[in-house]
């Protein structure tokens, strides 16, 4: 490089370099917009009482963690979300991930499946096998789970609105000889939260949502005791645009609706409360995310204790899975995303998560490739095995900043919860549109901050470079042939069923849905045994509730 620059150029460059040398933070706020001080001291946590407000890990109010020995007892589950193309491709990828050392399974379903329709739905042609695996039949579920020891590993079914995927899972497990009492895993089953993930409310209207959600909880309490039948999904709400306290407050609002419905149906609170778990995001403000989750633990424990009168310690624990924030990642300079994921994963671990999915660097281009998801697994493994952070529970406790910020998060979460209560609960907050306005407003605010430079994103509005790195990333592709093969197998499957037996089973399911007196799982599982598809199970239950078989009006019931 030529240093004998003309005086003007040299001075201008020198000025620029000095500006960077003297750079300061653009603002002094958390990600969610709360001003923070230059430093924190005992004054900022005056009145903080160890026993009342923190206590040891594994002791009420669980601020410091839900188990006494936290990761010394068991590391968090390394659980990568996985699914694409077909049940067989998804099964192959699951085994790849297990070989790479992930410690739990996490299955993503394609959007039509997550909307409750089959892979031959006429309007779903372009969306089959994208974003997750299609599951239309029991055969699909069996193929997806082939070779996986369901009694020895935890499996998450990442579906918000299609509770009956659990029925398919159970039938598949039973056919392989597994004991329901030994099955371990989670189904999100956060049916009320469907619209926060972009699904139409009318796919699972609120009354049907509550019925399905609690049927699943009830069935699992009685038959699948080690299963987590409901995980309120804060991750997707956060991805849609809310800030940290809003994320937690909205999940608590939803959780209360499920608790209230469960109680209305006569499920004892001590059985019910521990079955409500959570999924949270981990965004880029390292300390805010840790404070958010510590506050969530303390607030949940106090809320269940004070408002629901629960005393059983097991029923007071905020148990959660973290998914690092996909929307924090950039298309530009994608390798940078691994640094972001690392920051986020570390915050989730220091916050004491039970389970963690780390995103891959190609998040903004497509689903993870084998090489990109391997690095995501390695990220967790390096943190678990090399950083030594898991030897000590809640290591940040006592930090003046972290405790002050935890208090602040709790305060802000409570404000929003009070507002939701004033409106009559989360369902009302959704029906009035208020909840979605909050999401939209916050999303727009964040975008404007990025475009004005107030919110810096490296590679996007700072340290911008060309698109060479972007072009070099191998992007995952879903083969059209594989998707077609899957659709063909669905056609074949439908031809081989005994229509008489199927008809009886589906009509019985519909009648039970109409009468609303019994849990729908046994009849749904029976219909599945008789060859019912996911769309048929869903459709007949919908009809029982007075809704059209297919919300988009493109498919008629077979009988």
């Amino acid at each position: 490089m030529e240093f004998k620059l003309k005086e003007k150029e040299f001075l201008s460059r020198a000025k620029h370099i000095e500006e960077i040398y003297r750079e300061k933070p653009v603002n002094h706020e958390t990600w969610s917009g709360y001003p923070v001080k230059e430093f924190y001291s005992p004054k900022d946590i005056e009145g903080l009482d160890y026993t009342q407000d923190l206590n040891d890990p594994g002791t009420y109010p669980y601020t410091r963690g839900i188990y006494p020995n936290m990761y010394r007892g068991r590391l968090w589950s390394r659980r990568e979300l996985c699914g694409f193309g077909s049940p067989k491709k998804t099964n192959e990828r699951i085994h790849y991930l297990l070989e790479q050392g992930e410690s739990a399974v996490n299955i993503a379903f394609d959007i039509p499946t997550n909307s409750g329709v089959d892979s031959d739905h006429p309007l779903a042609k372009g969306d089959i096998g994208l974003q997750g695996t299609p599951i239309s039949t029991i055969q699909d579920m069996e193929t997806t789970l082939e070779g996986i020891p369901l009694e020895n590993v935890s499996v998450n079914l990442s579906t918000i609105g299609v509770t009956m995927l659990m029925a398919f899972y159970l039938v598949a497990a039973r056919r392989r000889g597994f004991d329901f009492k030994q099955l371990r895993g989670t189904i999100l089953n956060d049916t009320l939260g469907d619209p926060f993930c972009g699904y139409k409310r009318s796919f699972v209207p609120s009354d049907l949502a509550l019925k399905l959600a609690i049927d699943c909880v009830e069935y699992c309490i009685n038959h699948v005791p080690k299963w987590n039948p409901l995980s309120v999904d804060g991750y997707n709400i956060r991805e849609n645009g809310v800030n940290a306290p809003q994320e937690i407050a909205f999940t608590f609002g939803l959780a209360k609706e499920y608790l209230n419905e469960g109680l209305r149906r006569g499920i004892p609170i001590d059985d019910l409360a521990p079955r409500i778990t959570f999924t949270a995001s981990a965004e880029m403000d390292f300390f805010e995310e840790i404070a958010k989750l510590r506050a969530a633990r303390r607030l949940w424990a106090k809320m269940i204790h004070d408002e629901y009168g629960v005393r059983d310690p097991k029923a007071l624990k905020y148990k959660f899975h973290v998914h690092t924030a996909g929307s924090s990642l950039t298309r530009q300079q994608p390798l940078s995303n691994m640094i972001r994921v690392t920051v986020e994963a570390l915050s989730a671990i220091l916050a004491g998560t039970q389970s963690l999915h780390t995103c891959s660097y190609d998040e903004n281009m497509g689903l993870p490739t084998e090489e990109s998801v391997q690095l995501a697994v390695r990220t967790q493994q390096i943190l678990a095995y090399e950083s030594r952070v898991c030897n000590v529970a809640d290591p940040l406790a006592g930090s003046y900043y972290v405790e002050a910020l935890t208090n602040k998060m709790e305060e802000e979460i409570k404000k929003i919860l009070d507002k939701i209560d004033e409106m009559g609960g989360m369902i009302k907050a959704q029906e009035s549109g208020w909840a979605y306005e909050v999401v939209n407003n916050e999303a727009l605010k964040i975008e404007k901050q990025i475009e004005s430079g107030e919110r810096i994103i490296v590679g996007v509005n700072r340290a911008v470079s060309d698109d060479e790195q972007e072009k070099q990333v191998r992007v995952h592709e879903v083969s059209e042939a594989i998707v077609r093969g899957h659709i063909d197998s669905l056609t074949q499957f439908k031809k081989k069923r005994s229509m008489d037996a199927l008809k009886l089973a589906l009509l019985k399911l519909r009648k039970e849905a109409e009468e609303k007196r019994v849990n729908l799982f046994p009849s749904a599982m029976d219909a599945i045994e008789k060859g019912a598809t996911l769309g048929e199970i869903n459709g007949y239950i919908r009809m029982g509730f007075g809704y059209p078989y297919d919300d988009l009006g493109a498919v008629s019931p077979p009988f």
């Binding site: 372009g126 974003q131 991805e239 950039t330 903004n364 999303a443 475009e451 992007v475």
Partner: protein
Amino acid sequence: MDELHRGKKLRILLGKVGFDGHDRGIKIVAAVLRETGYEVIYLGKYLTVDSVIKAAIDEDADVIGLSFLGGSHVIYSREIVEQMKANGLDDVLFIVGGVVPHKDTGVLKDIGVDAIFPPNTMTKEITESIDQKIKAKRA
């Protein structure tokens, strides 16, 4: 915003085709375009190619903008462009936003998509591009 087409504000139809419901991006684009001064018709989600074309005709749209996340951008863009040609919508701009990997940009351009806006695109780029391309198309 540039000289208006035929003296009117540019009419921009926005929406999502198929089952994908991820709409954070398109809602932001709709809001910003409205603030900039365009006439935005947000059709929503779960649209079909036919319903988009019909709306473009009924609403006298100058621009059709669709958003994709899951990977269905090639399949639906192809159908949209075919239908636009079949219905004489030759002076209507067709723009696509969302998760479109670099390797597909050329594919979409070949199909006839006028502009592609992948993730982390600044909205200013979208408005500038629309103005530029409408001018060029109708020159």
